[in-house]
Symmetry: none
Subunit: 192 residues, 4 copies
């Protein structure tokens, strides 16, 4: 594939991503995508053999890693509780619909395609491991109480992944969400 083709492929993925964010997985039609892209109906099939294919590509590309950002923060000596809060804020913005999120689309997609679910687990595990790093760093630096870092990280990751799905339904307000997230990590904080 030439460079131009590569760019076009990327452009399609980017545009499709927007559609998936807006309408979920099941709610997106080829029409929406090729119209948004301004290309022909069959133009998409040149690069992706099906909607499923396209979504998987979008999903893989989107797997954002907090890892790097967190490593830098630690290296810079930012207090652990702030780093943890930073992470929570990323997800909070997603819950409140202020940050584009593929959560809904991913949910719908994985429900319809059970074979691909391993991907989801690995996403949770990634987040968990990042949080583990933060907690351990916090314990070392005396910001966090001593605890089972892995258990806590896993718990936090679960809650975040869950609330990203449920908050849009429950309609929790920004304050409610913030309180809930604060409540979630409070037991870790030393001086309380």
């Amino acid at each position: 594939m030439g460079r131009i083709a590569e760019e076009k492929k990327n452009y399609i993925m980017e545009t499709a991503r927007g559609a998936f964010i807006e309408n979920g997985y099941a709610g997106v039609t080829m029409r929406q995508i090729y119209q948004k892209c301004g290309i022909s109906k069959s133009g998409i099939y040149v690069y992706f053999s099906s909607i499923k294919d396209l979504f998987l590509a979008v999903l893989q590309r989107d797997a954002h890693s907090l890892r790097q950002a967190v490593d830098i923060e630690i290296w810079e000596g930012r207090p652990a509780e702030f780093i943890l809060t930073d992470i929570m804020n990323v997800y909070r913005e997603e819950m409140l619909g202020r940050k584009p999120s593929l959560a809904r689309a991913t949910y719908e997609f994985l429900m319809a395609n059970p074979d691909e679910r391993a991907f989801y687990r690995s996403q949770i595990d990634d987040l968990t491991s990042v949080i583990v790093t933060v907690i351990e760093y916090g314990m070392e630096s005396g910001s966090f109480v001593v605890c089972d870092a892995r258990a806590w990280a896993s718990h936090i990751a679960d809650v975040l992944f869950g609330m990203v799905l449920t908050v849009p339904l429950s309609g929790y307000s920004e304050d409610e969400v913030s309180n809930k997230l604060t409540f979630l990590i409070r037991p870790l904080l030393m001086d309380l």
Copy 2:
């Protein structure tokens, strides 16, 4: 509506419920339902004016109330930590797919019908209030540490509602789920 009609209506709802549990909301077609029911395509419309209508009926009928069961348990003097565990187990079975669940269908439905979302919030609130009762009972009886019952109940409800959606995707094993639920309520327990 005569008794026979009432029975048929129930039969349709029961059958449709199975379809919704299996395929979610978006994945269910009228065809699947009337074929499963063994009636004609238009036969369903005698009882329900649309798929949405039918799903809402199924949903309402399904709104299980833990309230009563919990009240009885308290009245019987069952220890608070056991009652709480009982509640968690109900949801655990749902997470693990061993208890038929409308969670997925509900999620898809509410995503497609934002107007009905209040229903979801009220379900969370119902669960929260039941848990509040249990926690307060546990604090009185000395099983639970003194804490902000409402905040904890709300937190627990959130986690349960979230995990009902995410566990089928993450593929957590029974043990993992159990551990997570134990971890969730451990801080409440007195003797730890």
Copy 3:
């Protein structure tokens, strides 16, 4: 058929008439009728074997005769030009949608049921003959110029029957309609 049945039949016709006036012939469904009537779905079939049947009954019952009213006016010595204007006004109100009209429904019905068209012709002929009477009376009493009464009557009837259909589409204003009707009969008037 007993008297009660007779009354019910009349009631259904009256109610159906309202529906036909509102929605034309093709636009009326059995549902609308039996709901408006507050009777059961099949209740209509006790009295009328089909929608077509029902409409025909409504139509026959509705054939209003101006004959009698006009005869009285002549007998009372009302000036011919006023009587003619009275007739035009009946139709003007219908054109402007201020008098309930079956014109649209009749049109749709007869287009779909060519066999029944003789009825329409007889309606035009009825009106024509009434107008003939008025014109002859007007000629005798010196209000109208001497003319071919039958040709003029037929012409006027045609225009009225046509405009009852077209005015709702053309959207002529009340003034426009009035002017047109005045223009139509002006040549008959003596002192102009």
Copy 4:
């Protein structure tokens, strides 16, 4: 759109036109059209997004302008009374069903789609203005008596538009129609 596509679109419109002429607007289904066309059900939607869309396209294409023909006739010096008769004959053929007419379909369509009624008014106005031209030409050339050209033209147009709808119902014979049209314009003629 390529030339082949253009041709196919025209072919569909032509075929649909036949269906609308035969069965009106409400009486035509997509099925009839795509079967007549020999294409697949969804094939039509490639070119027209709905029945309404298709009908509007047919209607626009069909808007015949007499204007040009009349201008030529005047330029050629054809007597005004003949030109007027030519115009009337166009509509007479339509009334008698010898010239395919969309009048019925248009009536049904506009009744179902009130928003589009301006179109009807503009059609009447177009015809009126053409007739005005002819009448003025006739007055100048001494064929017609001096009169209010606009009022007469409007009157004639109304009658023609009305009779196109009513004659198929009244079943007037060719002679009757001819007589009526003659009667309509007689007052304009000079030597009578």
